[in-house]
Symmetry: C2
Subunit: 563 residues, 2 copies
């Protein structure tokens, strides 16, 4: 028996395109107040948007007649604007007389050919015939072959008596409950990891690394904390806040020590919306060419959040250091996450780059308005806008000037670029510079690879992100539905940042006509241009490298168009 007791102030609205139902927007203010629909107005202040603004926009959408159309088209969906109080339904409970499946069985059913299954509590459901009618479009495909519960936690509008009843009509079986594995190994260095959102797609468990489903990534300008991709090199440290001190100074000398309150109270609190991206984002495209070493990231090892903290410059000045005058060559950041031999994760910036960015680098203690989650560096991380994630050290407790770059493995023996003819037998990591500022990138997040568009579709709405390192604003994103023969310019969501200090990503959207003779399929392609008119390389082959980093070729997504 299931209690559906939490559906306050829930608003669902749907936008109509020429081809019928396309996209469902949610502004679930009770559950998640960061959700923002795509907008093209010029003066959109992305950092300070409110749920009130978001709602206003939804009502505009509703104004185009979505309500009437929804009912008229007879979809299994209901627009709710009133509180739904507790409802009690026998959905997902064990049912006698039905076959029993394991999670592995369910995972084999992800396509129309194999039938599309999901689970809810103890129930197994074949939703093959439903997916094309899902008002939220292809997003339902994120859940196939597994549980829909994490997605319904995200989109709580689904926890609705009618929807649950409809779900139960697709019931085909029961699932074997997974064995409980609560026995903790006290010696496991990964025994104190935080809880994570189950929609995250792990690329490794120990250390934990995971990205959100690509379809969710660009729904919001600011990525919610629990959807922000996670890149941990080592176990997440457990920090004792009583003894925590951030040390700032010069290598080998006495350092200024600040506790968290001193960090918060003694310096002006500065804000910036800034991207963190793994050097290996989109590595899976390189793997297809030739094996590489690294986590097999799809295109969502990148996220964008609002960060707050003290500037590096203010903190260094308090420690008596003038970055413009110091003679040291590097600034080193060290975390509290430690390898088996006890040495901490660390990274460094050339001093010249630190000088350029000294008022933009944040010693950050807030993410999207509240304290950092453990996976993102609680209590303090450094945010170095425009620079690869690997240098934005989490669980930060040491900042110092040095004449040497960080001796950490990931600074010296990793995260560097090589050409496609360098492989493990002939690589010399000393011959390349550590990756710092990243090149221009863009990616299609919606539709996902392999999506089946509506039958007879004549156009497709494409959404994604674009970003460039070094603060270089995105000037243009080009989209093609014919594999690069013709291009359209996407609408860009304003970042409200300046042309030369655009640290946040640019979300974009374009509705592109499908080629007349598409033969049932189309290749969607995107490429971006930054303010320095840098562009993306056409193909992965020319940028392939043994570590699979810097994978920023034109992004290509194949879709099917049933006749």
């Amino acid at each position: 028996m299931l209690n559906v007791s939490f559906l306050n102030r829930c608003v669902g609205a749907a936008a109509i395109s020429k081809n019928g139902w396309r996209t469902l927007y949610f502004a679930d203010n009770g559950h998640r107040n960061e959700t923002q629909p795509f907008r093209t107005t010029k003066n959109y202040s992305s950092d300070h948007s409110t749920s009130e603004e978001a709602s206003k926009n939804h009502y505009t959408l509703i104004g185009v007649g979505a309500v009437g159309a929804l009912l008229g088209m007879g979809l299994y969906w209901k627009l709710q604007q009133e509180v739904v109080s507790a409802a009690t339904i026998e959905v997902g409970e064990q049912k006698k007389g039905l076959p029993t499946y394991t999670a592995e069985d369910v995972a084999k059913h992800k396509t129309k050919d194999t039938k599309i299954w999901v689970t809810y509590k103890c129930g197994v459901y074949d939703i093959t015939d439903y997916v094309s009618q899902h008002p939220g479009g292809s997003k339902i495909m994120m859940a196939v072959g597994g549980s829909i519960e994490p997605y319904w936690d995200l989109y709580a509008v689904h926890k609705n008596t009618e929807i649950l009843e409809i779900l139960e009509t697709f019931r085909i079986g029961n699932i074997v409950p997974p064995k409980k594995t609560d026995i903790k190994d006290k010696n496991d260095p990964y025994g104190n990891e935080p809880k994570r959102n189950p929609v995250l797609i792990p690329s490794s468990l120990k250390p934990y690394n995971a990205e959100p489903p690509s379809l969710l990534l660009t729904e919001q300008f600011l990525t919610p904390k629990d959807l922000f991709f996670v890149r941990n090199h080592l176990p997440v440290p457990v920090v004792d806040m009583k003894s925590y001190r951030l040390e700032i100074g010069i290598e080998g000398k006495n350092k200024l020590k600040l506790n968290i309150d001193e960090l918060k109270k003694n310096f002006p609190k500065m804000y910036t919306a800034s991207v963190v991206q793994c050097a290996g984002n989109r590595r899976s495209e390189m793997t297809k060419i030739k094996a590489v070493k690294g986590l097999n990231w799809n295109n969502a090892a990148i996220s964008n959040a609002s960060w707050a903290g003290a500037t590096l410059n203010d903190v260094m000045n308090k420690a008596g250091i003038d970055l413009d005058k110091c003679s040291h060559k590097h600034i080193v950041f060290e975390g509290m996450d430690k390898g088996p031999e006890g040495s901490p994760y660390g990274a460094s910036l050339p001093i010249e780059l630190a000088r350029q960015l000294k008022n933009d680098i944040l010693i950050a203690y807030e993410m999207n308005g509240t304290e950092l989650p453990r996976d993102h560096g609680y209590p303090v991380r450094v945010i170095i806008p425009g620079v690869v994630g690997a240098r934005q050290v989490k669980w930060l407790n040491n900042i110092y000037l040095s004449n040497e770059e960080s001796t950490c493995h990931w600074q010296r023996k990793d995260y560097k670029g090589f050409n496609a003819s360098v492989d493990w037998h002939n690589v010399d990591f000393e011959k390349s510079e550590a990756i710092q500022q990243l090149p221009v990138i863009s990616s299609i997040c919606d539709p996902a690879e392999g999506t089946e568009l509506e039958s007879g579709a004549e156009e497709v709405t494409v959404k994604g992100y674009a970003w460039s390192g070094g603060g270089r604003a995105i000037l243009r994103v080009d989209i093609s539905a014919d594999g690069g023969k013709t291009w359209m310019t996407a609408d860009l969501q304003p970042t409200n940042q300046s042309l030369y200090k655009t640290w946040a990503w640019t979300l974009w959207e374009a509705t592109v006509p499908l080629p007349a003779n598409h033969g049932g399929k189309a290749e969607l392609t995107c490429k971006a241009v930054d303010v320095s008119y840098n562009c993306q390389p056409d193909n992965v082959e020319g940028i392939w490298n043994l570590r699979g980093v810097l994978s920023n070729a034109w992004h290509r997504v194949n879709v099917k168009i049933p006749s």
Copy 2:
């Protein structure tokens, strides 16, 4: 009758590769003291190299036995280290009994198939059988179909009795002297243009635009003034230095006025080695895909010089302006070159970019150690490192803050990027940002397109330049001799500039094995990576645009390999 009277301290040396004679280096200290051979030593101070250093390097080359080899191989060449006094030779004089050709006739003879002709004074020569023996390699091909005199002015070692006598053995005819066209039209706005080096290859005459032969471009880190590419939008102004004033201030207000002496004496003199590149460099590659509007530049609409002057910041401060605090949105530069309607050439930078570069932008009055030549902005131009040439206004006489960007045609209706599906019927220049900082580029300068390598060659030495806008250093240049299947990393000539303020270009060189089964031809390819790991796009097609700007695809050069 020809007098050869100027051959002082002339040194010629040749380097030997596995495949025999490859390259001839010159250090003609009497005629040109900027010539520097390629070097790979780490601490090479490119800005302050001397002819003494260059000579030292040559003597090292000589030390490998070049002298003996030269003589031993019986080439028509003589190493001279002594003064050759006046010699009188009947070379190039009119000769009775020989056929007479026009310049147009000669211009048709540039390949082995059509025979290779050159002229010297009144003589026409068929040097088809000589070119493969030329100790200077394929550089001789720069002169084919025309006069060799401009090249012998560059490489004065050729003005040598023996060489002239050898030349005369190839005599086949006399050339019709060109008609004198000294009648000047007093109303011609182009009636006061400066003299130019005849080796420059014009892409237009009025206004004058020209690039040096690609083979000469990367012989020196600092491009000699008379080889520096010329990009004029309008006639070269004649400047009266008595009345010349540089005005600095705010639009519509009284301005600070400085004469040239005040500019030189009242501010610290700062130096920088910095590239100027036309937005349309390498446009000819785009033209091959589909017609574009613009000068048909090859790959040499780029040069690198040492500039000296006052910083923009110092000059603005003198005018009472603090760039960091002003509220204006643009800084405008205006020249003294004027269009038919009287409005000057102008350009502007967004104020944010001007702030970032305020101590790097030079109000320059010197180029390579002496005053600016007229073609390069005498008496004053602005040097904006890392930014497209079009904004580096020449003949500068007005700098002012404004809330509008420059209203000049070339700021608002030109020099902007669009995607390949935008053409003249649907372009809207307001929808794109004016090009400022340029993307990463590299190019092969030697060998030139179509070069015939030595018979049976197994490897090829490739030379060129690489550069990126925004001060981003070049980290790596990759070279392929199999059209991009395998890559080698080139040796880079150090710039002695920092990673994030590399305003100068990076010259590079690589000796690459030719593929085993080359079938008589090979495609050489280069691509570069900058400190932000931006890379070049693979193909021209994806970056084609109606103005043919930003042409930075992998550069490809085809060579022949006779068996």
